[in-house]
Structures are given as structure tokens and as C-alpha cells.
């Protein structure tokens, strides 16, 4: 076919970018092992990892991030699938509604945090509506969703962006399946609901599960929302790590890098594990599409 040399030339910029990415990861890992020539540290050591992994502050931070990531991803996947089904069934996956659903994807997490503050804080709009409905008399009676160790506000803010993301990500697949196989199922005697549950939904799962992984990893490693909406104690892991990184004592640097290293390695491990699990599961359901 075409010349391999041309292909190589075309791919040079990508190679350069990939090299930089790998170097970035390598630098973090190197420094986490205590290798920082600029500070005179030459010996690789696992001490910083050991200290990190045994610190109780780290444990609570890790738990927070895992919890936020898991709950956000699960809720977003479920609600996003329902939203997608609604778009397919009611709007036939076209029109102004679909464009509207895409809007939250364009809004950055920082602005989403402000939305959460304006609506969900104890003096926010929802609280005022509760007063108007006679449910509360005092802002203090409105449940605290923001800045709590439960990170409820953070999860809700993630949902605002991620539910439309799941819907949009799954839309093309679900619309296609529904129009052909879903239609055939109804023709064979399945009510629209049964057709959705037995045919359309199982065959749309590959897209939903991919979206789940993307959201999970993103929420796990996310910084902006936990910083702006989370509690001061316990912190989310990326916030905790960045704070350590900003420590004025530069000898603390490897400790911070160890925290980043944990985030990196955990993310990679979870992605790999998830890939293995779903590959086998999806082969059973959808035949490895």
C-alpha cells in the first residue's frame, strides 16, 4: 500500500506528544521514589510510599475519592441511561432537546461548582424554594450538602455534568439499536418497555460501561470540584496531594510525588481491572462488539 515512511512522518508530532506524556509520568514516579538529582537525592527508595500508605490522613483521603468516584459514576450511569432512553423514545435522538442536553458538557467544573453553591447551599435557591413551600423556617434547617465530609454536594455537581455526558455518549448506539432491533422486538409482541429492557438496554451497555469508567477515573482524579465544594477534613486525594506538593519545604516533595504516584498507579490498575472484567462480561451479553 502506501509508503511506511510517510506514515512515520505524519505520526511524528504524536510521537513527540506521547514521549512528553510518558516523561511526565516518569518524572512523577522517579521523584516519588526519592530520585531528585537537583536536591542531591540519588537513591531510589520506597520509604515515601510506605509513609503515605500508612498515614491515616491518606486513608481518609483515598476513601473520600473512591466514594465520590463510585457514587458519581453509578448514579450518572443510571440516570444518564434513562435520559438517553428518553431522548431516543421521545425526541428520536434529534432536535433542540439533544443540543440542550449537550450544554453542561461545555461548562467547566469551576462554573459547575458555583452553580452548586448558588443552588444547593443552605442559603441557595433550593433552600429558598423549600421555605416558599413551607418546609423550613430557617436556613439552618436545610440539609448541609456542601463542604461536608459526605461530599454530597461534590457528587451532585459531578452529576450535573456527567448525566448529560453519559446520555450523549450512548445516544448514537441506543438510537441505532432501538430503531432496528427494538422495532423488531415490538413487532414480535414485546411492549415498548419490554423491548427496551430485553433488547435495547443490554445492547447499549457497552457504551454505558465505557462512560462509567471514564467518569469514575475522572472523578477519582478530579481536583476542582472537591476543592471548591468539599470539606476541609477529610480532603479528597488529589487536593491532599496538591497541598503536599505546594509545601514550602522542598524536601517534602517526594512525599507529595508518592501521593501522585498512588493516584496514577491506582487509576491505571482500576482501568486495567475494569477492562478485564467488562471484556468477559460484554462477550457474554453483546458478543464482543
Amino acid at each position: 500500500m502506501r509508503k511506511k515512511r510517510t506514515a512515520c512522518l505524519l505520526l511524528l508530532p504524536l510521537f513527540a506528544v506521547t514521549a512528553l506524556s510518558l516523561l511526565a509520568c516518569g518524572s512523577v514516579l522517579a521523584q516519588s521514589l526519592g530520585v531528585i538529582p537537583a536536591f542531591g537525592l540519588e537513591e531510589p527508595t520506597l520509604d515515601y510510599y510506605r509513609n503515605a500508605l500508612t498515614s491515616p490522613a491518606f486513608h481518609s483521603a483515598l476513601l473520600v475519592s473512591l466514594r465520590v468516584a463510585l457514587l458519581s459514576a453509578l448514579a450518572a450511569a443510571s440516570l444518564g441511561t434513562v435520559l438517553c432512553a428518553a431522548l431516543v423514545r421521545v425526541c428520536r435522538a434529534r432536535g433542540a432537546m439533544v443540543s440542550l442536553i449537550r450544554l453542561p458538557i461545555l461548562v467547566p467544573h469551576t462554573v459547575t461548582a458555583l452553580f452548586a453553591i448558588l443552588l444547593l447551599s443552605q442559603t441557595g435557591l433550593v433552600s429558598r424554594c423549600a421555605w416558599a413551600l413551607g418546609l423550613i423556617d430557617d436556613p439552618g434547617q436545610f440539609p448541609q450538602l456542601l463542604f461536608t465530609p459526605g461530599y454530597g454536594g461534590t457528587i451532585l455537581a459531578y452529576l450535573w455534568k456527567e448525566v448529560p455526558f453519559v446520555a450523549y455518549f450512548t445516544l448514537a448506539l441506543m438510537a441505532g439499536v432501538s430503531a432496528t432491533l427494538g422495532e423488531a422486538a415490538e413487532n414480535l409482541g414485546a411492549s415498548p418497555l419490554r423491548s427496551f429492557l430485553t433488547v435495547t438496554l443490554p445492547l447499549s451497555l457497552p457504551a454505558v460501561s465505557q462512560a462509567f469508567l471514564i467518569i469514575f477515573l475522572f472523578a477519582f482524579g478530579g481536583y476542582e470540584l472537591p476543592l471548591l465544594l468539599g470539606a476541609t477534613v477529610p480532603k479528597a486525594l488529589p487536593v491532599y496531594a496538591h497541598l503536599a506538593y505546594m509545601h514550602p519545604d522542598l524536601r517534602q516533595r517526594p512525599a507529595a510525588m508518592a501521593l501522585y504516584g498512588v493516584i496514577l498507579l491506582l487509576s491505571a490498575a482500576m482501568a486495567a481491572l475494569y477492562g478485564l472484567l467488562t471484556h468477559r462480561l460484554l462477550r457474554k451479553i453483546g458478543g464482543g462488539r
Binding site: T180, N187, L188, T198, V199, P202, I285, G286, G287, R289
Partner: protein
């Protein structure tokens, strides 16, 4: 189940697809819906099945008005052109799907599925996943699945067009035998003329969203109602002329015709030309094309009109030869000629 379609009009995305289609299919009958692509055959099927809503007109199955009834309650099953087997289910699960929807228990429905698979000559194929099946095998599973739904009306949307020639013959025979066995009212949509003529009890010609003619295969082929119908089956040459005093006159031939005076077109099919050494018509060979089992010969009459006739095997003719024919017109097919046509 008897199907009655009355004055059905369907529009899709602003365009009129079906204009006042009326059709009747008797109980247990096999009807072919024949027509060129884009004439609305698939739309008609989908409207009868309830997938598309008509703009006006009525559909009745055994007297019951289907308007407003959702697709899954009509008992009208379509075998789609793109087959649409469920990829995440085995063959048996696919076939037993309608039974599952009817509430039949798992063991019983899988047994019935196995039986149906045997009927379509795939015995024991139940536990296999459908993705590895060939085109013909998938078609057969889809057929079994359609039968499992115990349809009151079976609609086939060009089911054989994607298959190889040899496979098509087998599938046609299978469909016909199942039709006989289950006594099911069946409508087959196709653009293959030979298929329609050979398989059906009656053929309905659909042009531009309306029924041009409906009758037995012989009626439709030998006595086409319009020139378009005659042209559709091909192999016919049309001669313009006029009827005067009970006779049709054109440049080549004069025939008795008990029709009112006026301008008419005569439709001649190639079988009407009978080679005979003493025949009254002399045609000159213009072109000879050998095609294997037959030879296509182009012949010109005295007035220059071109006719095509197929001769079996390699015919010993050359350009310039003069051949003599009888013309067996039988019951002449004459269409009134309109101004400007």
C-alpha cells in the same frame, strides 16, 4: 386471517409515499407485492404492522380495525430485509423470544424453539450464538422466530434479495412449504418478477404508491391492465396504431379488435413470434448475442421496428439473415393511447 386495506394514504417526512392503496388478501392466501424500488412496498408493510401511522384510510384484519392498535398487539409479523436477529441471544433464545413475550415458560418455549428450528432445517442449532451464522442460516432463524409469534398475518420484506442465487431457490421452497403447512396469510414484497410470478396465488403491482393491477400471475403477465404494467415485466415491444371499424391497424399488422374507435398501442411479447419457414412476416437479423443457454437475437421489421427474441442454445444466425415468422397474438393486448404519450 383476511386482510383488508382501504384507501390507505401514508406520508413520510412531507413526501407522499402511498396514495389511496386498496388491497384485499384472503385467508391463507399468498400475495406478492411487486414493484420497482421506492414505490412504497416496505412503507406499506410497516404501516400494516403498525410501525408507521397512516394519514388516512383503514386496515382491517378479519374485520377488526387495526387503527390505533400498537405494533406489539396486532399479530402482524414482518420478516425484515436486514433480518434483525438479536446478537446477544442464542438461536433458540431468538426463536423463543415471541413465546417469552406471550408468557410461555422457559422449558416449554425452548422446546418449541427447537421444533421450529428443525422445521427450518436447522435441527439442534438452538444453543449456538447467531453472530457466526451465514446469511441463509440467519434468514431461516428469523423465519422460525416469525412463526413462533403465531402471526395472524406474515409479511416478508424482500427476504431473499441478499442471498446467493442457489440459496434463494431453497429459501423460496422453504417459505412456500411453511406457508402450506401453517395456512398463514402471507404477503411477500419483492422487486424480482420471476419470484413474484412463481410463488404467489395473486400478484399486486405497486407503482408510485398506488396499486396498478392485482390478479393471478397469468392475468398480470398475459393481460396487463396498463402499458406500465406491461413494460414492467419486460420483453415486450409496443406498436402504436388505431382502431377503425373493429380492426386495429398499425404499420406492421392488422388485427380484429372489438374496441371503440381511437388511438391504441399494441403490446407484443417475444413468445408471440413463432419461427416458421412459410410465415407471413419477414424480419432481418440485426445483431446476434450468445449468452450460454440462449442466444439473444435482435430482429428488424420492414418498417424498422426492432424486436428481441431468445433462441435456445447457440443459434446459427448472422446479421443480415432474413427469418420468417408467424405472429400468434392470441387475445391482443391493447391500451388506449392518450394525447402526448
Amino acid at each position: 386471517m383476511k386482510l383488508e386495506i382501504e384507501n390507505l394514504s401514508v406520508a413520510l417526512e412531507g413526501r407522499d409515499i402511498l396514495r389511496g392503496v386498496s388491497l384485499r388478501v384472503e385467508e391463507g392466501e399468498f400475495l406478492s407485492l411487486l414493484g420497482p424500488s421506492g414505490c412504497g412496498k416496505t412503507t406499506l408493510l410497516k404501516t400494516v404492522a403498525g410501525i408507521i401511522a397512516p394519514r388516512s384510510g383503514g386496515i382491517r384484519l378479519d374485520g377488526e380495525d387495526l387503527t390505533g392498535l400498537p405494533p406489539h398487539k396486532r399479530g402482524v409479523v414482518i420478516l425484515f430485509q436486514d433480518i434483525r436477529l438479536f446478537p446477544h441471544m442464542t438461536a433458540a433464545e431468538n426463536v423463543s423470544f415471541p413465546l417469552r413475550m406471550q408468557g410461555v415458560g422457559r422449558r416449554e418455549r425452548l422446546e418449541q424453539a427447537e421444533e421450529l428450528l428443525s422445521r427450518v432445517r436447522l435441527p439442534g442449532w438452538g444453543p449456538r450464538r447467531v453472530e457466526s451464522f451465514s446469511g441463509g442460516e440467519r434468514q431461516r432463524v428469523a423465519l422460525a422466530r416469525a412463526l413462533a409469534a403465531k402471526p395472524r398475518l406474515l409479511l416478508l420484506d424482500e427476504p431473499f434479495s441478499a442471498l446467493d442465487e442457489n440459496l434463494r431457490e431453497d429459501m423460496r421452497a422453504l417459505v412456500l412449504s411453511l406457508h402450506r403447512e401453517f395456512h398463514m396469510t402471507t404477503v411477500l414484497v419483492t422487486h424480482d418478477r420471476e419470484e413474484a410470478l412463481s410463488m404467489s396465488g395473486r400478484v399486486a403491482l405497486l407503482f408510485d404508491g398506488a396499486v396498478e393491477q392485482c390478479g393471478t400471475p397469468r392475468e398480470v403477465y398475459l393481460h396487463p391492465a396498463t402499458r406500465r404494467a406491461a413494460d414492467y415485466f419486460g420483453g415486450c415491444t409496443c406498436l402504436d396504431g388505431e382502431v377503425r371499424g373493429g380492426l386495429f391497424h398499425c404499420s406492421l399488422v392488422t388485427l380484429p379488435a372489438s374496441l371503440p374507435e381511437g388511438r391504441y398501442t399494441l403490446c407484443l411479447r417475444e413468445q408471440m413470434w413463432r419461427p416458421a419457414g412459410n410465415g407471413p412476416y419477414a424480419l432481418t437479423v440485426k445483431e446476434v448475442r450468445f449468452r450460454g443457454p440462449e442466444t439473444m437475437v435482435a430482429l428488424a421489421a420492414e418498417d424498422g421496428t426492432l424486436f428481441h427474441k431468445r433462441f435456445p442454445g447457440p443459434a446459427p444466425f448472422q446479421a443480415g439473415d432474413v427469418l420468417r415468422f408467424h405472429l400468434d397474438v392470441g387475445d391482443p393486448v391493447l391500451f388506449p393511447r392518450e394525447e402526448g404519450l
